[in-house]
């Protein structure tokens, strides 16, 4: 299974890819991930590649081979949607982070949303940032998305496997709010 995560540097894509990797390890599945740290983490476009299964050599997903695209932000989801397979699926956080421009913004949000919906009729959008804000910390947006994915039953892991991985990976101080985010995301689908 090939999973692509796209977003903006600083949104927590790396933690999500680590969480999926940990679930794979706990289930005895082979996994390869690839991401870029450093300069692009400062508000640039970021992509994580995750590949689960045997006999995988490349850590990068070949073009048109992604089974799932997790969009942390709409523009970055649209930028990577062509990586999906014919029957690939997309879950997207319905939030725009506008790239800086000192001219009047010409960003046409509807056009981008329609492009994604036209490309994949079964695209799923959830208000992950809003849900995270309501819970009290925007940064748990990634855990809301993981909850929604669990409800969509796309990942090869059960609700309790994913929950246990969250308990294993998240610092105790932030665990409660993340578990709350996970359940809110799960129930949003």
């Amino acid at each position: 299974m090939n999973i692509l995560i796209s977003g903006v540097g600083g949104q927590g894509t790396i933690l999500t890819s680590r969480l999926i990797a940990l679930c794979s390890l706990n289930s005895g599945l082979h996994i390869k991930t690839s991401e870029v740290f450093g300069m692009s983490q400062r508000g640039g476009s970021v992509v994580s590649h995750i590949r689960i299964g045997d006999n995988l050599d490349s850590p990068m997903i070949p073009a048109k081979k992604a089974d799932l695209l997790i969009g942390f932000e709409v523009i970055e989801a649209a930028r990577n949607i062509q990586m999906l397979k014919a029957d690939g699926k997309i879950l997207c956080n319905n939030t725009f982070i506008r790239p800086y421009s000192n001219k009047k913004q010409t960003l046409k949000e509807d056009k981008i949303l329609n492009y994604i919906k036209g490309y994949k009729k079964n695209s799923v959008f959830i208000e992950a940032t809003k849900i995270a804000q309501e819970i009290g910390n925007t940064r748990v947006m990634n855990t809301v998305l993981i909850g929604a994915l669990t409800a969509m039953d796309i990942l090869p892991f059960t609700h309790s496997q994913i929950k246990n991985a969250i308990k294993e990976i998240i610092k105790p101080k932030l665990l409660d709010i993340n578990l709350k985010a996970f359940e809110k995301g799960y129930n949003s689908i």
Binding site: G9, L25, V36, F37, G38, M39, P59, M60, Q82, I112
Partner: protein, 599 residues
């Protein structure tokens, strides 16, 4: 034995710990940083782990420690090896006693570097053996082998992971047990003192060793020939994975996989050349494997070699899965094997999307500092010299606050060069706190001694931010997060003879402007230290919003600051989820339209 999910960097660190290292030293640099961080987190307390002030220091600390019989690990990124090149080139002559492995991470792309230099060339240059891992598992296995080899041949050995290996992760099988290596201590001997006569003698011995090491590499598990086809493909490092996955579809291919590009495993490569009719060489950056094969082909058997020298393979940048797939398809002339249904999943055209460049974070104190300096020096004839760190991003519009950027510590020295030729131009040098300790101090001493009229502006955010918040001598913490001596940048400058040292809070824009004017107008070397913590680890307690009734739509907040939290629809607005609450936009607003809101 058990399995863990590890990045290449973590795998190297865990292997080094298991080998029983006594000391590790490095300087942060993407993509190498997490190697030393992992050692600091997991090694026994009796292992000395340090963030050295720069790579030259790390190399020398590791080198001399290994003279005692200790096993040591030095870590850096590729350009860090330039800083450490002086001790590195001589250590190959001098040799070591215990074991010394140097991790040098290369960055094809480049993703986060000033150059695409290839450390395999440094291996050839210095006659130091090198391992080039293709995966985290191999990074782990190679590190173990590299320590053994170093101990056996009494030379430092390089491990050279590239970005995709460093930051890629996979299931890695590890041993989990740490070896215990005894250290005999430093024995006095003339062999530790390099002199021209010894240099000549050791140079001869070093050259003689190369053949023996090459033969070892021909026989180890990291170099191999896979398949029996007449179409040869030679590859190594991360590219091997793409080649393997793509070439598995073809039966007429032989792959030469090179895990030790120097000394080139000639015996193995000779067998490969014998088997094939022609060779395509797929490797990132410099044609190192290609040159090894060309040399062999010249000596043994004429064979067509396609690669960078024939302009078949791109000479720069990362090689993607798709690029390699296209290269192999056209090499084998088998276009019909491409699954056409996969190429044409959809005919819908991609739409134009706005580009998203890296930018200073919302609330970043550097944005405020740059804005202030530009405002204060309006009307001055000024050159703004930049340096390496997050703050290099101050070059982008609208801040537009950097005119030169070369390498670590060069802002202060380049300001001097321009000043001596154009004394009437004001030269300002920006430098970060960690960079100041890395290579800024020598330049500062030079400026005072050689009477350069420049202004040094230190952007002190109390951390090494770009690489992920490593401590440095200015903040009172060690690599292990224990308390350490804290050195004061302002006092160092005063001790070096800087007569005017001032401090300012970047968020306090209006009073900082006068301080900037004072230091820039000063005749001689002056220093201003902007002090404010990096926001990436801080929780925001408030945000700002724009009252659209009071806003006159002058857009000064948008046009001057370039803050990612401020955007324009009909009038400027602030995205409260991105706003950190620094209040700099409120300070620049002339109509008092921006209000503070508690979270």
């Amino acid at each position: 034995m058990h399995k863990e999910i590890l990045t290449g960097n973590e795998a190297i660190a865990k292997a080094a710990i298991e080998c029983g290292i006594h000391l590790a030293a490095g300087y942060p640099g993407t993509p190498s940083t997490e190697v030393l961080e992992t050692v600091a987190r997991h090694a026994d307390p009796n292992v000395h782990v340090e963030w050295s002030v720069n790579e030259k220091v790390a190399m020398e600390v590791c080198g001399s420690a290994s003279f005692t019989g200790a096993w040591t690990l030095a870590t850096m990124k590729q350009v860090g090896l330039n800083v450490a090149a002086d001790p590195f080139m001589i250590l190959s002559y001098l040799g070591i006693e215990g074991a010394m492995v140097i991790v040098v991470a290369d960055d094809p792309g480049p993703h986060a570097s000033q150059s695409e230099q290839d450390t395999r060339m440094y291996a050839k240059f210095s006659n130091i053996p090198i391992f080039d891992p293709s995966s985290p598992q191999e990074a782990y296995d190679m590190t173990k082998e590299a320590f053994k080899l170093s101990n056996k041949i009494k030379l430092p050995v390089i491990i050279r992971p590239t970005t995709r290996v460093c930051h890629g992760s996979s299931t890695v099988e590890i041993n989990g047990k740490n070896d215990n290596i005894a250290v005999n201590g430093f024995e006095k001997n003339p062999k530790w003192i390099i002199f021209p006569k010894l240099a000549y003698e050791n140079h001869v011995k070093l050259e003689e060793k190369q053949h023996e090491i090459s033969n070892m590499f021909s026989r180890n598990q990291f170099n191999s020939v896979i398949g029996t086809g007449r179409y040869g493909i030679a590859t190594g490092g991360i590219s091997y994975n793409y080649v393997k996955e793509i070439a598995d579809n073809f039966h007429n291919v032989s792959i030469l996989k090179i895990g030790n590009p120097y000394p080139f495993p000639e015996e193995l490569a000779k067998d490969f050349i014998d088997k094939v009719d022609r060779i395509l060489v797929i490797e990132e950056l410099d044609p190192v494997i290609e040159e090894g094969l060309i040399e062999l082909s010249y000596k043994y058997k004429k064979v067509d070699i396609l690669g960078k020298k024939t302009k078949t393979v791109p000479c720069a940048g990362e090689l993607s899965y798709q690029t390699i797939s296209n290269l192999i398809d056209s090499y084998l002339g088998k276009y019909d094997l491409i699954a056409l249904d996969e190429v044409a999943v959809t005919t819908q055209k991609a739409i134009d999307l706005p580009k998203r460049q890296p930018t200073l974070c919302a609330g970043c104190p550097h944005r405020a500092s740059y804005y202030t300096v530009k405002q204060a020096t309006k009307g001055y004839d000024c050159v703004y010299n930049g340096d390496i760190g997050c703050y290099t991003l101050g070059n982008a519009k609208p801040l537009d606050a950097i005119d030169t950027c070369l390498c670590m510590g060069a802002g202060i020295t380049m300001a001097q060069g321009i000043h001596h030729i154009q004394p009437n131009v004001k030269n300002i040098a920006f430098i970060g706190d960690s960079t100041f300790f890395h290579t800024g101090i020598a330049g500062l001493v030079n400026a005072v001694y050689n009477n350069a009229n420049i202004t040094i502006i230190v952007l002190d955010n109390y951390t090494t931010a770009m690489t992920g918040h490593q401590p440095h001598p200015g903040i009172g913490l060690s690599a292990r997060n224990e308390s350490a001596k804290k050195l004061d940048i302002g006092k160092i400058a005063e001790a070096c003879g800087v007569k005017l040292v001032r401090y300012a809070d970047p968020y306090d824009v209006n009073s900082s402007i006068d301080v900037v004017k004072e230091v820039v107008d000063y005749d001689g070397v002056s220093m201003l230290i902007f002090e404010r913590a990096c926001v990436t680890k801080l929780k925001s307690s408030k945000y700002y919003e724009i009252d659209s009734d009071l806003c006159k739509n002058c857009k000064i907040c948008v046009r001057k600051l370039g803050c990612p939290a401020i955007f324009t629809k009909d009038k400027p607005e602030i995205d409260s989820s991105l706003c950190f609450g620094c209040g700099v936009c409120k300070a620049v607003c002339k109509f008092n339209a921006i209000k503070e809101v508690d979270r």
